[in-house]
């Protein structure tokens, strides 16, 4: 069997003709396998969805319980038969419930990494290596300039700024799924035990993480009333980055805008967004992560999906590994 007979790029996303299913389809399909709950990977309107329990729950929270005709939960490491194909879900270390998807038939194994990272994360299961003949890898941070620093050092910078500007509310932009909970867990691990204030858009996902046993400590709603403005002096307030551009942010005392994202490694990105304190905190593999993984799994062939495909394909070329870009559309850079 040739790899493209097992999985091939189509306008709706990666498609498996043998098992008749799509992986992370960007438009409604009869049967979808979903790697994780981020909105560009997990869309509503499919006939049947196979994903981890957590990913299904997150899709339900975001799109309503009826987001798909039917759902089936897959446990990490289990093998399931779908038509003539065996599939399996393995931890991707990206966000709670995130998985890499293994697809096997006729002695050929393809691994779709989905979004992944290899560093430790107190808010989800750690990435596991899954050797495969063909590796389909993400490339969000696929440029050699991306070397994400130690998360603890970034948290230390946030805490140092709180000590230096104790009268200013520190507004930290975070994506609602994954980054928010990871940042909270990292702050708790660093010994920060004051209440953390969260924007309404984060509340349901934080509560869900708690229900899955990830302790986030005291969280309070970031609602400023006339009398309570002073209470936010020196507070950590988390919200979606879009909220900080709006009037919402101006209600806080002398707000200091921070943003926790892998993109913050490039200064121009921080400048463009008016970020005063960039925190380089990424839920994706950085360049060493991407290239070490390819070297470790030693696939016969590498296909590169969304991100900076060109550079990673070039690196594979230099390493003597056949590689090609898939140029899938519909997955967003910013949703990291």
């Amino acid at each position: 069997m040739q790899p493209q007979d097992l999985l091939r790029p189509t306008p709706a996303g990666l498609y498996c003709p043998v098992g008749d299913f799509h992986i992370d389809p960007v438009r409604p399909v009869p049967r979808a396998l979903v790697t994780h709950g981020h909105a560009d990977h997990a869309r509503p309107g499919h006939g049947a969805v196979l994903a981890t329990r957590e990913t299904l729950d997150i899709m339900g929270l975001r799109h309503g319980a009826d987001h798909a005709g039917s759902t089936q939960a897959a446990g990490y490491g289990e093998s399931l038969a779908l038509g003539g194909v065996t599939v399996g879900f393995h931890p991707a270390g990206h966000v709670l419930g995130s998985a890499q998807i293994r697809v096997e038939a006729g002695g050929l194994r393809i691994l779709v990494t989905g979004d992944y990272k290899r560093g430790p994360d107190p808010s989800c299961a750690p990435w596991e290596p899954v050797p495969a003949d063909v590796l389909i890898t993400e490339a969000t941070f696929g440029l050699p300039v991306f070397r994400h620093p130690d998360p603890a050092a970034e948290i230390a910078r946030l805490l140092a700024s709180l000590a230096q500007f104790p009268e200013r509310a520190h507004l930290v932009g975070v994506y609602a799924l994954g980054k928010a909970q990871r940042l909270i867990a990292l702050l708790r691990a660093a010994g920060y035990d004051r209440p953390i204030y969260i924007h309404g858009a984060l509340a349901r996902l934080c509560a869900y993480y708690e229900s899955r046993g990830i302790a986030l400590g005291p969280l309070e709603s970031a609602t400023v009333d006339r009398g309570t403005k002073g209470a936010f002096a020196g507070a950590v307030v988390l919200g979606p980055p879009s909220a900080f551009a709006a009037k919402w942010a101006q209600r806080f005392p002398d707000p200091l805008i921070a943003f926790a994202s892998g993109w913050m490694q490039v200064r121009a990105r921080a400048r463009q967004r008016g970020v005063e304190l960039p925190l380089v905190l990424s839920d994706h593999a950085d360049w060493p992560g991407l290239t070490d993984t390819i070297a470790q799994l030693a696939p016969q062939e590498v296909w590169v999906t969304h991100g900076r495909e060109e550079a990673l394909v070039r690196w594979c070329g230099l390493a003597g590994i056949p590689a090609r870009p898939l140029s899938l559309v519909g997955y967003e850079d910013e949703a990291e």
Partner: protein, 535 residues
């Protein structure tokens, strides 16, 4: 080095002046000597290191990185120093680099010969983390821009040490990096350093604009008047063989004006207006003064050619005398200083120095009449100086007033630039500018294109390209913050209310009168000033 790099990154992204002051003050408290002194010098641009060319950096990177991967990365990051800092591959297996002190880096780099530079820079890049690599590269390539003026750095020192900023400015030119004596004084461990070096800058006295009602309370007889000339305010100081020309903020600009320096045959310090002369007109005649556009050819240069000096020679119109010989005159009343000045100027080359003429008047409305038809285009108003007032640094309220001829002249901040048309199509030559609101944000108030020389156009074009923060098709948004940005002096014919503009008003025939490279954006005008014009 890591502490210094962190400071630079924070300063670059911090818009508020007070927050910058705190970042600087905390750094001065935390960092030891000589690191903090070198950091201060880097920020005030007084740190002298042998320059490293971008080509050398590219060559160093090329030894370690695939050119295609580098090109893709550079294309994405957009800044050479940052790309090199981020892409630099730490030695395999090396743990986190130990922190190297800034002082040690500066000591090593300042003794660097051209031949050993590449290996030495590479070794430093190996030993630093990415933010520190970025700081190092910016230091040696001279591209450090953190949105902190030298003046703001001195204000941070003053606030931190609990002294007046003028006390620091007065001794500044006698100090050298790493400023150990300065820090010792500010920490209360040593007396204030003596202003020992000759020809030091003396902080300048500035005037307040005449506000409605101001003059009703003042007696005309208490004030002397003279024309306010449209040149640049400078201080020329000659002591014990050292001659200096300072801008009003204390920058030493002597090297650009050797023609004037050569004629400084006196001992003392004169405050005056630097003007360009039309050599064909007789000294003292009204036609003598060239336009500001002509003067602009001589500004912002490190050096100057003989041809340019011949085409646009400069001279000084003397306003005040701050010192003569060893004697400090600043405590004397204005009339006494003025008499000493008149006597001193008589002995100088009349082609290079003349006395700013007194404008006699008996009543305030007489001044207003004179202002309606001033005898020269280069007059931008009248200065009123209290006859009995000493020379006080800063902008004290009361002794000096400026009364501007054209009420429709404001300082605005460049916000957006757009490509021009025709001959200018390769330059960003159409500009949208704004003024500060009460909330401290900029609101656009007009749009104009630039009418100066190609050289000025190239310079502002480069500013736009270096300071772009966002692009919208052919339009670029540029950095416009209280401490970083470009001030444009805008002339306009009138104002009217307008519901179509966010600012609530529209300018008639705005034009860019001149570029104020010397002025920090925080000193630009406020919306309320324009609203007052509407009446």
């Amino acid at each position: 080095m890591q502490r210094f790099a962190a400071l630079l990154d924070r300063l670059t992204l911090t818009p508020a002046r007070n927050a910058k002051l705190r970042l600087l003050a905390d750094y001065f408290s935390d960092a030891p000597d000589p690191d903090r002194g070198h950091a201060l010098a880097a920020i005030t641009r007084d740190l002298e290191l042998p320059g490293v060319k971008p080509a050398m950096l590219r060559a160093l990177v090329a030894e370690r990185t695939d050119p295609e991967l580098f090109a893709l990365s550079y294309d994405y990051v957009g800044d050479l120093a940052e790309t090199v800092a981020l892409i630099w591959e730490p030695a395999p297996g090396a743990g986190p680099p130990p922190d190297i002190r800034l002082g040690a880096v500066v000591a090593r780099l300042s003794r660097l010969s051209r031949a050993e530079a590449p290996a030495c820079i590479a070794a430093h890049l190996d030993a630093l983390d990415a933010p520190a690599r970025f700081a190092l590269i910016k230091l040696v390539t001279g591209g450090l821009r953190v949105g902190v003026s030298a003046r703001l750095a001195k204000q941070a020192l003053a606030g931190w040490g609990g002294v007046e900023v003028t006390e620091i400015e007065e001794i500044w030119h006698g100090l050298a990096p790493p400023y150990a004596a300065l820090f010792a004084w500010l920490e209360g461990r040593a007396p204030r350093p003596e202003p020992q070096a000759a020809a030091l800058f003396r902080p300048v006295m500035l005037a307040n604009p005449v506000e409605p009602g101001d003059l009703d309370r003042l007696a005309p007889a208490d004030y002397a008047a003279e024309w306010k000339w449209d040149g640049i305010r400078v201080q020329v100081t000659a002591e014990r063989g050292t001659r200096r020309l300072y801008s009003r903020s204390g920058d030493d600009i002597s090297r650009a004006f050797p023609d004037l320096i050569e004629a400084m045959d006196f001992e003392g310090a004169i405050d005056g207006e630097l003007l360009v002369m039309r050599a064909e007109a007789a000294p003292g005649s009204p036609e003598r003064v060239g336009s500001f556009a002509e003067l602009q050819q001589r500004l912002n240069r490190k050096t100057v050619s003989a041809a340019l000096m011949a085409r646009h020679p400069v001279f000084l119109r003397a306003y005040d005398l701050l010192a003569e010989g060893q004697e400090d005159l600043r405590r004397l009343p204005f009339t006494a200083r003025r008499a000493r000045l008149a006597a001193l100027v008589t002995g100088l080359d009349p082609a290079r120095f003349d006395l700013s003429a007194a404008v006699p008047f008996a009543a305030w409305d007489e001044v207003a009449r004179l202002l309606a038809a001033p005898p020269h285009d280069a007059i931008e108003g009248v200065m009123l100086k209290r006859r009995d007032a000493p020379y006080v640094p800063g902008r004290p309220k009361g002794p000096w007033f400026k009364w501007k001829k054209d009420p429709h002249l404001i300082d605005a901040v460049l916000m957006y630039a757009q490509r021009g048309h025709g001959r200018r199509s390769s330059f960003y030559s159409d500009y949208t500018f704004g003024v500060w609101t009460a909330a401290g944000t900029l609101v656009p108030v007009g749009k104009a294109y630039f009418g100066f020389t190609d050289e000025e156009l190239r310079r502002i074009d480069r500013f736009v390209r270096d300071n772009t923060v966002e692009r919208f098709g052919p339009v670029r948004a540029v950095r416009a913050e209280p401490e970083a940005g470009l001030v444009l002096e805008i002339a306009f014919e009138g104002l009217q209310r307008s519901g179509r503009h966010k600012s609530g008003l529209a300018m008639r025939f705005p034009r860019i009168h001149r570029l104020r490279w010397d002025k920090p954006p925080r000193e630009a005008d406020r919306l309320e000033t324009l609203e007052r014009l509407l009446g």
